[in-house]
Each structure stands twice: as structure tokens, then as C-alpha cells.
């Protein structure tokens, strides 16, 4: 019984059906690859800054400003250590610089280009203030001034 079934399955019709099935698998796989590539490109956004990316980058830059302000406040109040202040402000400065570079150079859609470049300048200003904090982690008077600057630069609650 089993051999009959096998013979029937390997007949011309079965071979044709198998080829068709393979072809449909290949088509499905091809579509899957296209969809995956599309999703990957959508995720990376092709390097272009759109409104969504602008909003998200804006939030991240404000977060850096607010965190820098909190750190500067503690330094001004003598409530931090110079090592911690130096290292952490350096990390925040590096992130702000990365945003500055990316937003200055990445292509964008025309209608938001001015906003994107303005955000790049804001990131640059933050990076400059955080650099000062990084270089003078013991200077409480400078920290007070930088705290004000970061508060003005960032949209902190």
C-alpha cells in the first residue's frame, strides 16, 4: 500500500506539483526578503531625518540638557565628586556632540530642514556647556552658571 502511494506521488503530476510548490515557496521567500528589507530601511529611515526622528532626537537632546543641569546643580552645591562629575559630564558631552554631527550632516525633508539644523545648533550649545563642566568639575561658581545655561538651552520641566 505504501509503495503504491509512493509511486503515485513521484508521477509527472506530483513532480509538477512539487515544482509549483517550490516556486510558490521561493516567491513567498522573495516577498519576505523584500518586506524585511523595507522594514530595515524604514527602521534606519535611510539616514533621512523625518518629523518622527526630529521629535525623538529633540526629546533625547532635552533629556541630556536636563540631566546635565541636575549634575551641574549638585556640583554647584558641593554634593558630587569631581571624578563622577568629570566622567559623567564627559559622557553627556559626547552624546550631545554626536547629535550635533548627525543633525548637521544627515539629509532631511525640505519642510523641516530649518528645525533640524536649529536642533543641531542646540546640541552644539549643550556640548559646549557640558565640555566646560567636564573641564572644571570642581568649579562650583562655573557649575552654577552652566546649570543656568543648560536650563535655558533644554526644555526641562
Amino acid at each position: 500500500m505504501l509503495s503504491v502511494v509512493r509511486r503515485v506521488r513521484v508521477g509527472p503530476a506530483a513532480v509538477r506539483a512539487r515544482h509549483e510548490r517550490l516556486a510558490s515557496y521561493r516567491t513567498a521567500l522573495g516577498r519576505l526578503i523584500v518586506v524585511a528589507a523595507f522594514l530595515a530601511l524604514a527602521g534606519c529611515n535611510g539616514g533621512t531625518v523625518d518629523r518622527h526622528a526630529l521629535t525623538k532626537d529633540g526629546e533625547a537632546i532635552d533629556s541630556l540638557a536636563c540631566e546635565g543641569r541636575l549634575l551641574a546643580h549638585d556640583i554647584a552645591a558641593g554634593r558630587s565628586t569631581s571624578r563622577f562629575a568629570e566622567v559623567h559630564s564627559g559622557t553627556l558631552r559626547q552624546r550631545a556632540s554626536n547629535f550635533e554631527d548627525a543633525l548637521s550632516e544627515r539629509p532631511t525633508v525640505a519642510v523641516i530642514e530649518r528645525d533640524v539644523r536649529a536642533l543641531a545648533r542646540k546640541a552644539a550649545r549643550l556640548a559646549s556647556l557640558l565640555e566646560q563642566l567636564h573641564r572644571q568639575p570642581d568649579d562650583r561658581a562655573s557649575a552654577r552658571r552652566i546649570e543656568l545655561g543648560l536650563g535655558e538651552a533644554g526644555d526641562c520641566p
Binding site: 527602521g43 525623538k56 536636563c66 559623567h88
Partner: protein
């Protein structure tokens, strides 16, 4: 004497519960959603208690650790797939923990990060090489108790305790459901991370647990993990009170330490950094051992810290290889916090492969005799396994859809 021993074990479990994944996900979840995800921590801690008790019981009764059970229950082929998945996620986690060690050392000393990675790895290797097992557990567990400084910080930050209490009631009230779900999955993964059960069950075998120790096992699992879970809750409260209020998205361990500095000043900062250092160092050692335990148990090599390093040469070579591989990855400059997020999410995918064999063996009367799962253990075990399956299936799609929680 036994009560004293249990108390020491529980103290070590509290300090040793929190690792870099818990720290990152709890504080970030608080900063993004306030206290709304506190209930997920409770669910996750419940899961790790259920399965740790189960695998500790299996270890005490059958003298078999997790990967002995995996090999015997699912066979070589499926077992090998499980082993590869477990080793990769354990290596990712170890890499993140070593990065965390170096960051803490840098924040305390100001020296260069890459040098401190090497210093950290050498220090961990020396500790693992020369320190007896029970002392490793205790030193890092007790050091991790410094994290309780965040309890004081949370109190000083004056959270809305009514809102905190509401956070323990399960709900999904948010404009960004996908990101909320991503964090929920991450919190579950951080609480139920597989290396913890590998380490726990192997430790039970190492310490020579017998059925007489089932009470100790239950006490360690229930009290230790519950109290350890409180640390996770405290970290989320700090995130929800300080960082949400100030519009800060925490992206580094330094930001977490700031959570103690702002309300408590320099002393708070230093104690927090020491606590994080001990917690991530302890977790790094747990993961090193977990990786070496898994591979040794699977291939039937001699294993265990109660043997000399020369007495279990392939086990020793395995943990040294894990440490070197993780060191090499960290030195590429990969961000440990980002790596943590990936490590936790990929661990979630591996959860069913880890927990199913435990559930099967704990139900097998041939192994367990009268200590096999009863109805309550089975209801909890199967219930949590369903949760684990849902979470495992949704983890990667959520990772992609939310751009790693960025929205």
C-alpha cells in the same frame, strides 16, 4: 545555626538579585511610565521564585542541575540548540555586566574605561580562581546590599505613595502601548533571566543539597527573591519620581547613580556606586559560572567550584574562555547599557528552552519520587510557562517595532 545559615543566604540573595539588566530596565521603565509597571516586577519575581524553587528541589532530590535535566529530557539535538542559545545569551549578559563593572570603576576613579575593563576582568578572574564558592556569594551579596541606599533616596524624593500603590494594580494605561509592552517584556526578562536558575540549581548541587534541605531551598527562593525584588521596585520608584519629573531618559549607569546623589549628596552617590559595582560584579561571576556549568553538565565533564581548578580542568577552561570572550567584546567599545537591553530581550527568547525541562523533570516521579510537583506548583509552573511563551514570542517583534524601546 541553620536559621543563621538561611539568614546569610537570604541577605546574599537580596544583594545578589539585582544585576545590570534589572538596574537598567527598572530605572528606565520608571523614567518613562512612572510607577505603572510596578505590577510587572511582582509578576517577574513570582516567576523566578516558582522556577528557582522547582530547580532547587530537582537539584536537592536528584542531584541534577538544569543542563543535566535538559540533556536527559530533550535529547542531544534539541539540547544542543538549547545549550547554544543559553551560552550566547549568557555571554551577552556577562559582557554587559563586565562593561558595567568598568563603568562603575571609572565613575569612582576617573581612569580610562578600556584599562578598567582589563582591570575588572583580571580582578574577577582572581576572585573566581582563589575564593571559595560560599564566600564569593556572600561578599558580593553583602556588597550589593549597598543598593539599599536607593530606598533612602526614594524616601527622600517624596514619591506620591498612593500612585506607587496604584502601580501594583495591573493595567495598561498609556498612549504608547507598544513601548509599554516592550518594557513589560524587558522587566519580566530581567527578573527571570535564565542564568539565575542555571546558577541557582548548580549551586544547590555544589553545596550538596539533599531532600533535608528543601526547607532551606524554599526559604532562599521565596524570601530572598521577594526581598531582592523590593530593590527592583525601589529603583523604579526612583526613576518614576526623579527622572520622569525632570524629563530625563536614563541611558547610563551614571544616571542611575545620580538618582542617589540628588537626594542624598556625595555619600549617597558613593554608596550607590559601590552597591552597583558589587551587584554587577557578583552578577558577572554568576554568569561566568552559569556558562561553564551549562557546557560542563551538558557534555558530562567534571564541574564545580568545590573541586580544585586542576580537578575540573575543562570546567576551569570554560569559565576562563567565557571571561576572555566577554572581555574581547567589551573592548570593541560596545555600549554596555544598549547591550544589556539586547541581552535581556534575547534571554527572554531563550526562557522556554530553559524552563520547560525544569517543569518536566519536577513533574517526573521517576526522578523526584514524593517530591514531584504538587497541584499548586503545577498550576503556578504551567501558568508562568504560558506567560513565558507569550513573552518569548513577542520579544523580538516588540524590539523591532519600538526601535529598542525608543518609540
Amino acid at each position: 545555626m541553620k536559621i543563621f545559615s538561611v539568614a546569610l543566604g537570604i541577605l546574599a540573595a537580596i544583594g545578589g538579585f539585582v544585576d545590570i539588566g534589572d538596574i537598567v530596565f527598572n530605572v528606565a521603565a520608571g523614567a518613562m511610565f512612572g510607577y505603572d509597571l510596578l505590577w510587572v516586577v511582582v509578576v517577574g519575581v513570582g516567576g523566578i521564585i516558582v522556577y528557582s524553587e522547582m530547580c532547587g528541589r530537582v537539584a536537592a532530590v536528584s542531584q541534577k542541575a538544569v543542563f543535566d535535566a535538559v540533556r536527559e529530557r530533550v535529547g542531544f539535538g534539541a539540547g544542543l540548540v538549547t545549550l547554544i542559545g543559553a551560552e550566547l545569551t549568557t555571554l551577552l549578559t556577562l559582557t554587559a555586566e563586565i562593561g558595567g563593572v568598568a563603568i562603575c570603576l571609572q565613575l569612582l576613579s576617573g581612569f580610562g574605561y578600556r584599562w578598567l575593563v582589563l582591570v575588572g576582568v583580571v580582578a574577577l578572574a582572581v576572585v573566581v580562581w582563589v575564593t571559595p564558592f560560599e564566600w564569593i556569594e556572600r561578599i558580593f551579596g553583602y556588597g550589593g546590599l549597598c543598593l539599599l541606599v536607593f530606598a533612602l533616596a526614594a524616601y527622600e524624593l517624596h514619591p506620591d505613595w498612593g500612585a506607587v500603590a496604584n502601580g501594583f494594580v495591573p493595567s495598561i494605561e498609556t498612549n504608547d502601548t507598544l513601548v509599554f509592552l516592550f518594557f513589560a517584556v524587558g522587566l519580566l526578562g530581567a527578573a527571570m533571566t535564565p542564568y539565575e536558575v542555571y546558577f541557582y540549581s548548580s549551586g544547590g548541587v555544589e553545596e550538596g543539597w539533599t531532600p533535608k534541605d528543601l526547607g532551606v531551598n524554599r526559604a532562599n527562593a521565596i524570601i530572598g527573591y521577594s526581598l531582592g525584588g523590593i530593590l527592583s521596585v525601589i529603583l523604579m520608584i526612583v526613576g518614576g519620581t526623579l527622572f520622569l519629573l525632570h524629563g530625563i531618559e536614563p541611558e547610563s549607569l551614571a544616571t542611575v547613580a545620580l538618582g542617589a546623589e540628588v537626594p542624598l549628596g556625595t555619600i549617597g552617590l558613593l554608596v550607590a556606586l559601590v552597591g552597583i559595582l558589587f551587584a554587577v560584579s557578583g552578577a558577572a561571576i554568576d554568569t561566568v559560572f552559569a556558562g561553564a556549568y551549562n557546557i560542563s553538565q551538558f557534555f558530562g565533564w567534571e564541574w564545580g567550584r568545590y573541586r580544585s581548578n586542576a580537578g575540573a580542568p575543562r570546567f576551569t577552561a570554560a569559565w576562563i574562555a567565557m571571561l576572555l570572550a566577554a572581555c574581547a567584546i567589551v573592548l570593541t567599545g560596545v555600549d554596555p547599557v544598549q547591550l544589556t537591553e539586547y541581552a535581556v530581550i534575547f534571554s527572554v527568547v531563550a526562557l522556554p528552552l530553559t524552563y520547560l525541562p525544569i517543569l518536566l523533570v519536577a513533574n517526573d516521579r521517576a526522578y523526584m519520587g514524593s517530591h514531584a510537583n504538587g497541584p499548586i506548583a503545577n498550576i503556578l509552573g504551567i501558568g508562568y510557562f504560558v506567560v513565558i511563551m507569550v513573552v518569548a514570542v513577542s520579544a523580538i517583534p516588540l524590539l523591532i517595532a519600538t526601535n529598542v524601546g525608543q518609540g
